[in-house]
Symmetry: C2
Subunit: 313 residues, 2 copies
């Protein structure tokens, strides 16, 4: 058995890397730039060079390394094949087969949101649970489904794409994915801002949010909710309606022990749950009524933890 494992989280501008011991203690973490030129053909070589260099700098041999786990944007199947990642310049690519010879140790790969979910189950907000749904409320809405401690990658790598579940049939503006009425259009950070602008445009209700104009952010909305702003509370209620209803549908499928909520929107904290849980309870099948709602804890490190866990199994 080796002594260390590497977790790698590829983003559009930087690659985050972590070196862990076999129990998951983070020994060191660092970042390198993501070089997307030439269709991202440098990315995996750069990761291999950086991993090999860090390993040597800490005095470890290749045989000390249990493996390298990788999280990346885009759909990744259980065999480690990615079916295209636009912001990295990648088309279809077998990450495992490409990276393995460059590092000389086993490689595992998964979708970044899925891998972050695994990290949160292992060392974060879902610690102690084996069946969780991790929900990342960021620029978009990502999801990661963990059953019996293992990721549900999906047959085409599209497991946990809960941001693209239909929650509003009357929507006319399209989501980035081309559909209309996706959960992401209401529960992401941009979605909350969109809900806010729509609400403010409906009438002349006084609100501290009005003075912010186009600078209005998701954070402003939650700050206003905390300050008792009535319009902000209505916006939060709509956010909670869409997310609670969407997660109730997710629960009908996998009946998780807990939902672990992360991403930028989750920085608002427990107040989110005041708006999500009543709506979840309203729409959910009784068998899933007791699901817990937890906040993610690892922040931007969830990806490197989960990638390491992907290797440790």
């Amino acid at each position: 058995m080796g002594k260390i494992v590497f977790g790698v989280d590829i983003g559009g501008t930087t690659v985050k890397l972590g070196m862990f011991d076999a129990e998951g203690a983070l020994l060191t973490k660092w970042e390198i730039p993501t070089v997307t030129k030439n269709h991202g053909s440098h990315i995996l070589q750069d990761i291999a060079d950086s991993v090999n260099e860090k390993r040597a700098a800490f005095g470890y041999e290749v045989q000390d390394v249990i493996g390298v786990g990788v999280g990346t944007p885009g759909p990744v199947d259980a065999a480690g094949v990615i079916y295209g990642a636009v912001n990295l310049g990648w088309g279809e690519l077998n990450i495992v087969k490409t990276l393995q010879p460059l590092v000389g140790v086993p490689v595992k790969a998964g979708n970044d949101a899925n891998v972050a979910a695994l990290g949160e189950m292992w060392k974060g907000g879902g610690r102690g649970c084996q069946d969780i749904v991790a929900v990342t409320l960021g620029t978009g809405v990502g999801g990661g489904i963990i059953i019996n401690g293992a990721l549900v990658a999906g047959f085409n790598g599209a497991g946990g794409e809960i941001g693209h579940m239909l929650v509003e049939e009357n929507e006319t503006e399209p989501c980035n994915c081309g559909l209309c009425g996706c959960l992401e259009q209401y529960a992401s950070a941009t979605g909350v801002v969109r809900l806010a602008k729509r609400r403010l445009a409906e009438d002349e209700t006084a609100s501290s949010l009005r003075s912010l104009g186009d600078t209005l952010t998701c954070r402003d909305v939650w700050d206003a909710v905390r300050e008792g702003d009535a319009a902000a509370a209505e916006i939060a209620k709509r956010f909670g309606y869409y997310l609670g209803k969407g997660l109730a549908a997710v629960a009908c499928v996998v009946n998780p022990e807990a939902f672990v909520i992360g991403g930028g929107v989750s920085k608002a904290g427990e107040i989110l749950f005041d708006y999500i849980i009543p709506q979840y309870q309203k729409y959910v099948f009784k068998g899933s009524r007791e699901a817990k709602f937890l906040l993610a804890k690892l922040g931007n490190d969830a990806g490197i933890y989960g990638a390491a866990k992907l290797v440790l199994g």
Copy 2:
């Protein structure tokens, strides 16, 4: 390694039993009545007696038996604990711990719809797939989620309860579960009849279904669709809308390779897909667009096959 395995499917009126070899060939199958008196306290003893008797009749010893798998209505968790089954008279009951001493071999238990899903993956319509969602369109709508060849029981045994996913927010009549607008209210056999009666009551459009009055069945609707009845086609379209939309939401969660459609409604055959698939395609996230739609093949035997598979792992 033992030589035979028993699969047991408990229903409200009869218990179906099957004896299989280790490769899953059905050696014999039979039925016994379900005795629900005294809170169903006879059921597991009756099953044990019947299994032991059949084993002996075929000349096998206890050590020849790999195990006994059981499917039952109600939510069953991964440890084999059922949290109540009204039509059997059961409250909370540890099926595994109760039955194991009576048969002297390992016991596994699961929800009947989940177990039937496993059977369809193993020897039925989903043969060759490892990631399927089985959908049983019967009196209600049941579901079974199989990931990497294993059942998703759910933390409270409520995995795959897709019949209780909200698909119609404007519904005013309650589902049996107490919620309003569940998939089961439109896509079950009773749901199709309900859609039919509603459609016929809307106007005076001529339809062969009108003469049937209260005897109208789900089968009549599909027969009329095949005969070119315009109102029946509209009913089928509504059925397809609810089921296609619901399965698109399921796909956002687990991204299966295939949906395997069974239960009484599925006797209509491939014509169902003409109504389900276009709606599924309309609402589904692109990553799940290629999911296959297959018909279940094992009929009422899916439960005994799946229960045997539960033991074989």
